[in-house]
Symmetry: C2
Subunit: 169 residues, 2 copies
C-alpha cells in the first residue's frame, strides 16, 4: 500500500502547489479568481519574511521508481487574536479527489494543529463556503465552532480597486 | 482644535492598546473572552518575527502640557490569498466613543490600505459582527464586499481544547 507523508513545502513544490490551488478553485466554482503565479508563490513563501507557510501531502508507492506525488496541501499564516493571542489561519486545504477517503485531509489538519501548538497559538481559524456541507460537518465533528453561525461574524474584503481608492492612489 | 495623528505603535503603547482592546470587547458584548496581557502584546508584536502590527491614533491638543492621548487603534497581520497573493487582515479597529465622528476610524482604515499597497497586497480583509450595522454600512460605503453574504463564507475556529484534541496533546 502507498504511504502518505505530510511535510513542510519546499520552494521546489510551488509548481505542484499551484496545480492544486487551481483544482481547489475549480471545486469552489471560483476558478476565474485565481491570478497567482508560481513565481509569486516562490517569492512570497520562501524569502526572509514569508507571507505564508505550506504543508504538502505526498504519496510514495513502495517499490515504484517514480518520484513521490504531491496530492494535497494546507497553506497557512500566523495571525493574532487581541483576545487570546497567537493564532493560525488555514487559508486553503485540498486533497485531490482520487486520494480522498484515506484520511489525508485530517492528517493535514492535525499537522496544522501541531504547528499551532508548537508556536504557542491558542486558535486555529479557517473559512468554509456554506454550500460545502461535507467540509462544514467535518470541521464541526473535529471540534471547530462556526463563528458566523454562533456570533454573526461576516468576512469583508476590500479588493484591489477599493484598496487603491482608500489609499488615494 | 486638537490634532489627530495615526502612527505605528511602539512597544510602550501596549498598555494603551490593551485598554482599548478591552473597551472594544465590551462594545462587542464579548468582554469575557479577553485573556490577553500587556506582556503578551509586547512579546508578540515587538520581537524579531512579530505576530501582528498595530497603528495607534493619538490626539494632541495644542498648547496643552499633557502627553498625546491614544484614543484608537488598528491591529493587523499579513495573510495570503492563494488566488491573489499578499493580503492584509485587520483584526481590530476601534476608536473611543468620545472621539468618534471626527473621521479617526476612516484615517486608520486609509493608513492600513496604504500599508497594504506598500507591501504589495491586493486584498484588505476584515471581519464584522452582523448586528453592527453601522460598521457594515461604513465598510460597504468605502468599497468593501461582504464575502459571507456574496459567496457564503463562514468563519470557523478551533479553540484551545479542540486544538489540543486535534494534535493529540
Amino acid at each position: 500500500m502507498a504511504s502518505v507523508r505530510i511535510r513542510e513545502a519546499q520552494e521546489g513544490d510551488c509548481g505542484h502547489i499551484l496545480r492544486l490551488i487551481r483544482e481547489l478553485a475549480e471545486y469552489e466554482k471560483l476558478s476565474d479568481q485565481v491570478k497567482i503565479s508560481e513565481e509569486a508563490l516562490r517569492a512570497d513563501g520562501f524569502g526572509e519574511n514569508p507571507f505564508y507557510h505550506c504543508l504538502v501531502a505526498e504519496i510514495l508507492a513502495p517499490g515504484e521508481p517514480q518520484e513521490p506525488c504531491v496530492v494535497g496541501y494546507g497553506l497557512y499564516c500566523f495571525v493574532y487574536s487581541t483576545w487570546k493571542g497567537r493564532a493560525i489561519y488555514l487559508e486553503d486545504i485540498y486533497v485531490m479527489p482520487a486520494y480522498r477517503g484515506q484520511g489525508i485531509g485530517s492528517k493535514i489538519i492535525k499537522k496544522v494543529a501541531e504547528v499551532a501548538l508548537d508556536q504557542g497559538c491558542s486558535q486555529f481559524r479557517l473559512a468554509v463556503l456554506d454550500w460545502n456541507k461535507g467540509a462544514m460537518d467535518l470541521y464541526k465533528a473535529l471540534g471547530a465552532q462556526d463563528l458566523t453561525e454562533a456570533e454573526g461574524w461576516h468576512s469583508f474584503c476590500f479588493h484591489r480597486e477599493a484598496l487603491r481608492e482608500l489609499a488615494g492612489r
